[in-house]
Subunit: 268 residues, 2 copies
């Protein structure tokens, strides 16, 4: 990937405009928004949990490719100068003792509870939807104007310290003649989940019913289409639940942080 | 890259044999040893420093691509079942208050000083020397039977917590007609430093004399050859020195840990 300091010339006006809308209170999934700018999952944890999480990410790089980590107590990121991670995502989830306590469009009150929060920004598969669409592969949830469907699998992640949990995947139905193209194109973007982890046979990864996603919305699957599964940045939220993490702030699934970084920077 | 669990069929006898020699006391640089098996840099730190270092690695991925991290107190690694990180490298350096205190072929005594050491294994550019040599690119330090030359540059790494320091690079002189091939081939292996960070003009990164490397041995440079510089896994040792880290164990430059993982696993 290209080092951030070489990207200062990129005019990130569409990304900034989207963040400003969310800061002003707009709430909606971000798939298809500010196309060409990399989107990120977020998990924010007290400093005491930061090593466990960074190690969990290192050990599960398909699900948790780390794009940036803030300094403790900071709500800024190198990936979008001037952005405020407490307000610039459309929707947040506040977690207490491993349980979803609240959804909010403004995380400032929750953020103020801990002086030493560390924010992790994690690659999002929305990033490679743009080159897939440019290659003529239909992205069904964009066509239908819904959120991407996400499923909790029965595949355990490699644990790290106090953190454990199963893999979460996103799913896109793809025509059989384009599955290889979808794998190849997404595989060029390892920092945003890369190639699929599973193609076809949902039951083999513990998904009983594609019509009932654990996160996001169900999508139409046309006859003959193959369900293609990518590792998903909601995996940290599954670990928060499974591990009973005392306090965390995350994005709400599908409601990502939009960075100033062009997708091409993460092309392998 | 390919997940480790899919590599159990690989017969790693040459890697095991090399580790057994080092465990028995043999001391020599590892470039060219057990070709086809991935080699790794190592830095071992007390648990209190582990988050700072893992964050330093995340923020400086060209220099510090993390391949595995041990659990605190463990001297085992997923990358070589049965290996002992305290004895299976040919030569170690023990660091105290940021200064090199000792070189030893057996780190067990130093390891016993701290109950909670965390070991970081970091990709090594020796890994892509095999495909470069297969493509007909001469690797001068292998031809001449010496250690690769390494230099401390004037380029600061992105700091993390208490850790800061400059980038260390390895150098290989390459014929002008093969520099692009060397960049392309190494670029296919981002987990082991990937493409060069600098090509030609050593003075522009603060290297005054190629004949006087800061680590390893000087090598012959034939007329017309271009010095090509790759980010180097000795960069953590420069951070140990610059930051005055109280205690660390590392490999000695050029004396790597040989894993059971085939190089092809790290092909992008």
């Amino acid at each position: 990937m290209i080092a951030i300091e070489h990207l200062r010339h990129v005019d990130a006006a569409p990304a900034r405009a989207a963040r400003e809308r969310y800061r002003a209170g707009s709430v909606a999934p971000t798939s298809g928004v500010a196309p060409g700018f990399t989107q990120a999952n977020m998990i924010v944890l007290p400093r005491d949990w930061a090593f466990d999480f960074l190690l969990y990410a290192q050990r599960n790089p398909k699900a948790c490719p780390v794009l940036d980590v803030s300094d403790p107590g900071s709500h800024a990121t190198l990936l979008a100068p001037g952005a405020d991670l407490r307000t610039d995502l459309p929707l947040y989830r506040i977690w207490r003792e491993g349980k979803l306590a609240e959804e909010t469009a403004d995380a400032r009150a929750a953020w103020a509870e801990h002086p030493d929060l560390v924010s992790f920004l994690i690659g999002c598969s929305f990033t490679f939807e743009t080159p897939m669409a440019e290659a003529g592969i239909e992205i069904r949830h964009i066509t239908d104007g819904s959120n991407v469907p996400m499923y909790l699998t029965d595949r355990p992640c490699r644990p790290a310290g106090r953190l454990h949990g199963n893999l979460v995947v996103s799913m896109r139905p793809i025509a059989p003649g384009r599955v290889a193209d979808a794998a190849t194109i997404s595989g060029r973007f390892p920092a945003v989940h890369g190639a699929p982890v599973h193609i076809g046979a949902p039951d083999e990864i513990g998904i009983a019913d594609l019509g009932k996603p654990d996160f996001g919305d169900a999508v139409r699957i046309e006859p003959g289409e193959v369900p293609v599964f990518w590792a998903c940045g909601v995996t940290p939220q599954a670990a928060v639940m499974a591990s009973g993490v005392p306090f965390a702030i995350t994005h709400a699934p599908g409601h990502m942080f939009i960075t100033d970084i062009p997708d091409s920077a993460y092309h392998a």
